[in-house]
Symmetry: C2
Subunit: 596 residues, 2 copies
C-alpha cells in the first residue's frame, strides 16, 4: 500500500529562500499570511491529507462511484466522512473572500495545499477543487443576488460546484454546443440538453450541487459567440436559502473510466431545469474562462502531485528491495543481494522524477505567487508583469506538468518491476489517475496551441520577451559568481534554443499558421524545460547562499546534485525540440487524409 | 469498440521489395515457404485473428480470469472456443518441427503472424506464445524421451506451456531462487516452492499445462550456478501419453493486474510436484535462455502490435470526429466543423506512431529473417552475421519496441480526447495492456544493460561494428543516387551519433562500469532510432525502385512522406541521447541512498 508524506519543508524552503517570501510581509493580501501562518497551515494541511485523505485513495479506486436506480450516486466508503472533515477543517474556503465565509488567505497558499491534497487522493480532491473553480467564476461574473445565495455555502463546501462544458459531439470546440436555454418571465431560464464527462457531477458528499452550465439562449448567434453561462442548482434554494425543490437535472450514468474512479464523472441530463444567467448573454465562454484558467493551474498541480507521491513510493521500494549486485562489485557482500539503488539505471529513473519534482514545485510557487500579485499588487507594473507571466505560463504548467506527471508515474511504476503492474502495490493506480490530467481542462495539444497562437503573440510578445529577459539577466548577473556559474551552462544553452525557437515562430508562424501549429507542442516543452532549468538555477543560488551562511543540511545540499543531473541529463532535450519545430509544417501536413 | 485490420500488404511489401525475399527461394528451411505460401498464410492468419480473436479483446479485459475454490481457473467467455479454433487451424505449430506434428514453415513467418495475433488480442495470444517458447526450450535441451512425450501435444497446442522464473523475493536476480528440487530414485525430482507472475499459469483452454520451472537441486551451489530447469506437468501423462494423475502444483491466486486481464497470471504453489530435469544439472539458466530470447523478440513484437491497432483506431477517429477549424480557414465550410486531421498537432501524434510502426515492422522482418538464417544458412559467414545481428538487436527490439508501443498507445488515446479515457472506446485498454511489455521478459532497463554490458563488447564489438559498417556502406552507395540521397541526411547524423556513443562507451565503460550502466538506456534508444532510420532508408530505396518500374500506388508513395517525417521529427532525438549518455555516471551515482 502506497504511503505519502507531504514535502512541507521543501515548500517552505522554496517560499522563503528561493522566492524571498519576506518581501511580501506588508503587501496587500499577503499580510494575513506571514510565514509562520503559512507554515502552520501547510503543516496542518499535510497532517490532514496524510491521515484522512490518503488512506481513501485505494478504496476509491476499487469501489468507484455507483449510480443508484433513482439517479443518486454513492461515493466510495469513507469519502463522505472525509469530505465532512475537509469542510469542517475550513480547507475548502482557505483562500476565499471572508465576506462569504472564506478564510481570506492568499490564493497561492490554496495552490500549495492542493499539491498535497492531490498527491494524497486526486479523485477525492477534485470535489473541493471544482467547487473552488465554480465559486471563482461566480465571484467574478455573477449578480450580487446569486453570489449571496450560493457563495456562502460553496465557500464552506457545504454545497459543491461543477463545470458543464462537454457534450457528446463537442469537447474542445464549444461553438458546437446544443444545450438550450429558454428565457422565462421571472428572469430565469429553463435549460435542456445533455452534458457528459462532468466531474463531481452527482454524489452524496454535499446537500446541494451547483452546476455552471454552458448553453445557447434560444435565438442566439451560432458558434462560440452565442454561448451563455448559467447557474443550475441540483436543488432550488428555498426562501431561507436552504434546500428546496429538486431541479430538472439528473445523472443519467457514471462513466467507466481508466482511473480517478473515486470521482463521479457523470452524464447529466437537463430537462427543463431552472437556471440563472451568470454574466452577460452570449458571453458565457468569457465567464467560464475565469474558472478554466484556475482549473488549468489546478490540473497542472495534479501532475506534480502524482509525480511526487509516485516518486516517494518508488524510492522507498528501491531502498528496500534487494536484487542483483552493484556493477563494480557487491556493495553489501554480507547480504544476499544489493538494494536496487546501486543500479545506475534505477537511479536514472528516480532522479529524472525527482529533478522534475523539485523544479516543478518551484515553478508552481512562482506562478502561484504571480496569481496573487496580478490581483493585489498596488504597483501597476508588478501587476502587469505578474499577469503576463501567469498568462504565458498557465498552458505550460498545465501541459508540461501533466505530461511529466504521467511519464513519471510510469517511470516510478517501472522501478517496481512486475510488482508495479499489480494493483495491490498502488503504482498502476497512479498511472491511471495521472493519465486524465493530460486530457481534461483542455487536452495538452490545446494548451500548446493556446500558448503559441494566443499567449506568445499577445501584446507584441511582451510576456515571452519578459521571461527571456529575466533569465538572461539572471545569467548575466551570475557570471562573476564562481560558485554559481558552473551550474548554469545547460540553462544558457536552453535559453539560446528558446530564443531561436521564438524567432523561428515569429518569422514562420504568421506566414503559415500550420507552422505554428506543428511547432506548438515542441515549443511548449522547450519553454517548460527552460523554465524548470531557470528554477534550478534559482534554487542553486539559494542553496549556495544558505551554505555561505553556514545553514546548510544534507537535504538542502542534495539539491546541488539534482541541479547538476537536471542540467546534464534533462536539459539537452531542448536541442531536439528546437530541431523538430524548426523543421516546419511541411512533413506534418503532406500526407492526405485518406492515407492515414 | 476498436477494430483491427492486419497490415498484410505492408508485410508483403517489406518481405518482397525491401528484403528481397525471392533470394531465399532455394535456401534451406525457406523452400517450404515460397512467397505465394507466405501470402496465403498471412492472409488466412489475418482473417482468423480479425474474425475470431479480436472480438474477444474487450470481453477478456472486462471479465478477466477467475480462480474457482478448487484452484481451477475459468478464462473469459469465448476464449475456450477461440483457442480450439486456433489449435484446429494449426496456428500453434506453424513453425514447429514436422517430426512433432509442426507445419515446418520458417520461424519468421510465425513472428509475422504473431504481430497480427497480438494486435488482435495480446492477452489471448500469450497462451500459444508461451507454449511455443516452452516447446522451443524443450526442443533444444530436453531428452528424447521428454520430447516425444510432450512436444507432439504442445506443437498442436492441445497442451500449453509456461515459464516459471519469478518468486516473491526475486525477479531479475534469479540467483536468489529458493524453489527446491529433490532427486528421486526413479530419476525424477520433487519440486517445492512458490512461483508468482506465471502467465497462462492455470486455465481451462487445454487439457494439460507443461510448466518449465527453475529450481535449485538440494545441495546445489548458491547463486545462478545452482539453478536447474525442470519440466513439471499439471497432469502426469499416463502410460499412453494421455492425461493421468494430477500433479502437486496448484494455482494459489490470480494476480490483480493493470491490464492483460484475459491472461491468467497465476501464483503457482509447488508442493512435492513431480518434475524432470531439462538439460544439465545447474545449467537451468542456460536452457531457459533459449526460451527467453525467443520470448524477448515476441514481447518486442507485442509493442509494435499494440502500436498498430491503437494507431488504426485513433486514425479512424481523427478522420471521423469534427471539432474546430483548420488554422488557415475552414477546410469544409459547409460542415459544422472540420475533421480532427486538419489540426497539425493531431497529425503529429498520428504520424509519430505511424512512422514508428512501418519502420518497426521492417526491423521485425529483418531480425526475424536473421533468426532463420542464423539457424539454417549453409554459409557459415551468413550464419555468424545473422547470429550477431540477432544477439545485438534482440534487447533493442524488446526495449525500444515496447517503450514506443506503450508511448504510442498513450498518444493514440490522446487523439480521442476525453473519449480516450472512457473504457467503452477501448483505447485505455491498449494503454494498460501495452504497459506490461516494458516489464516482463526482463524489464527494459535490464535489456539496456544486456545490450551494453554483454552484446556490445562480445567478440570485440563485432556485432555493433557490423551494423555500423552496413549502414555506412548503404549511405556510401546511395551518395550518387539523386532520388535517394535527399532522404538520408538524418540517418547520416544519427549514425555519427551512434559511432560517437559507441566510442564513448568503449573508452569509458570499462574504466567505470557505472558509466556503461548510466549510458545504457540512452544507448539502447540511440541504436534503436538509428536502426529504424536505416529501415526507412531501405524502404525509401524500395519505393523509388517501384516507382521507377512504374509500379507505385498511393499507399506505397505515402511511405516517402513518412520517411521524411521520421527523419525530420524523430531522428533528432539521437543528439539528446548522445548528450545525456556522454555526461557519464557522476551525476547519476552521486546522491547518497538516504537522500532519495
Amino acid at each position: 500500500m502506497p504511503t505519502y508524506t507531504a514535502p512541507v519543508s521543501d515548500t517552505l524552503f522554496l517560499l522563503s529562500d528561493v522566492f524571498d517570501y519576506a518581501k511580501y510581509a506588508n503587501a496587500p493580501g499577503f499580510s494575513e499570511a506571514p510565514v509562520d501562518v503559512v507554515e502552520a497551515v501547510l503543516t496542518e494541511g499535510a497532517r490532514f491529507v496524510e491521515e484522512v485523505v490518503q488512506p481513501l485513495n485505494r478504496v476509491g479506486d476499487l469501489e468507484g462511484c455507483k449510480r443508484n436506480p433513482d439517479g443518486s450516486v454513492t461515493t466510495p466508503k469513507g469519502f463522505k466522512a472525509a469530505y465532512k472533515a475537509f469542510v469542517d477543517g475550513g480547507w475548502v474556503g482557505l483562500a476565499s473572500d471572508p465576506a462569504y465565509g472564506g478564510q481570506g488567505l492568499p490564493t497561492f497558499l490554496a495552490v500549495l495545499f492542493s499539491e498535497y491534497a492531490n498527491a494524497a487522493n486526486i479523485a477525492f480532491s477534485m470535489y473541493p477543487g471544482l467547487t473552488n473553480g465554480a465559486a471563482a467564476a461566480l465571484m467574478t461574473h455573477a449578480s450580487d443576488e446569486l453570489k449571496s445565495r450560493y457563495l456562502p455555502k460553496m465557500t464552506t463546501g457545504e454545497w459543491t460546484g461543477t463545470m458543464n462544458l462537454t457534450e457528446p459531439h463537442c469537447g474542445t470546440d464549444l461553438g458546437l454546443i446544443k444545450t438550450r436555454a429558454a428565457p422565462q418571465a421571472d428572469g430565469s431560464y429553463t435549460i435542456t440538453g445533455q452534458k457528459i464527462f462532468i466531474s463531481a457531477g452527482e454524489h452524496d458528499l454535499a446537500d446541494n450541487i451547483v452546476h455552471l452550465v454552458l448553453a445557447r439562449i434560444d435565438g442566439a448567434p451560432p458558434g462560440v459567440k452565442g454561448i451563455s453561462l448559467f447557474l443550475v442548482p441540483k436543488f432550488l434554494p428555498d426562501a431561507d436559502g436552504g434546500i428546496g425543490e429538486r431541479n430538472g437535472v439528473v445523472c443519467g450514468a457514471i462513466e467507466h473510466k481508466m482511473g480517478i474512479h473515486g470521482n463521479s464523472t457523470a452524464v447529466l441530463n437537463y430537462d427543463g431545469a431552472k437556471g440563472w444567467l451568470v454574466g452577460e448573454e452570449h458571453r458565457g465562454l468569457h465567464a467560464m474562462f475565469v474558472m478554466m484558467n484556475g482549473a488549468r493551474l489546478g490540473v497542472g498541480v495534479q501532475g506534480l502531485a502524482i509525480s511526487e507521491v509516485a516518486y516517494q513510493n518508488a524510492a522507498a521500494y528501491a531502498k528496500d528491495r534487494r536484487q542483483g549486485r552493484a556493477l563494480k562489485g557487491p556493495a553489501e557482500p554480507d547480504k544476499p543481494a544489493d538494494i536496487l539503488l546501486v543500479h545506475p539505471d534505477v537511479r536514472r529513473m528516480l532522479l529524472e522524477i525527482r529533478a522534475f519534482n523539485e523544479a516543478a514545485r518551484a515553478f508552481m510557487v512562482w506562478v502561484a505567487l504571480s496569481q496573487d500579485e496580478a490581483r493585489l499588487s498596488p504597483d501597476p507594473k508588478t501587476r502587469q508583469a505578474a499577469e503576463d507571466r501567469l498568462g504565458l505560463m498557465t498552458p505550460v504548467l498545465k501541459g508540461v506538468f501533466t505530461d511529466y506527471g504521467f511519464a513519471n508515474a510510469v517511470k516510478a511504476q517501472q522501478v517496481l518491476g512486475g510488482h508495479g503492474y499489480i494493483a495491490e502495490w498502488g503504482m498502476e493506480q497512479f498511472v491511471r489517475d495521472a493519465r486524465i490530467a493530460m486530457i481534461y481542462e483542455g487536452a495538452n495539444g490545446v494548451q500548446a496551441l493556446d500558448l503559441v497562437a494566443r499567449k506568445l503573440p499577445k501584446d507584441g510578445g511582451r510576456a515571452i520577451m519578459a521571461f527571456i529577459g529575466e533569465v538572461s539577466q539572471f545569467l548575466a548577473a551570475a557570471k562573476g559568481d564562481a560558485a554559481l556559474a558552473p551550474y548554469l551552462g545547460g540553462l544558457q544553452t536552453a535559453l539560446g534554443h528558446l530564443q531561436q525557437a521564438s524567432m523561428w515562430l515569429s518569422r514562420n508562424g504568421l506566414k503559415d499558421a500550420n507552422n505554428a501549429g506543428a511547432a506548438s507542442y515542441d515549443f511548449m516543452h522547450l519553454l517548460g524545460l527552460t523554465a524548470l532549468g531557470y528554477m534550478w538555477a534559482r534554487i542553486v543560488k539559494a542553496v549556495l547562499a544558505k551554505q555561505a551562511r553556514g545553514e546548510s543540511d544534507p537535504a538542502i545540499d542534495a539539491k546541488l546534485l539534482l541541479a547538476k543531473f537536471f542540467s546534464e541529463r534533462m536539459l539537452p532535450e531542448t536541442g531536439a525540440h528546437l530541431a523538430r519545430l524548426s523543421a516546419g509544417a511541411a512533413s506534418v501536413m503532406a500526407l492526405p487524409a485518406e492515407a492515414f
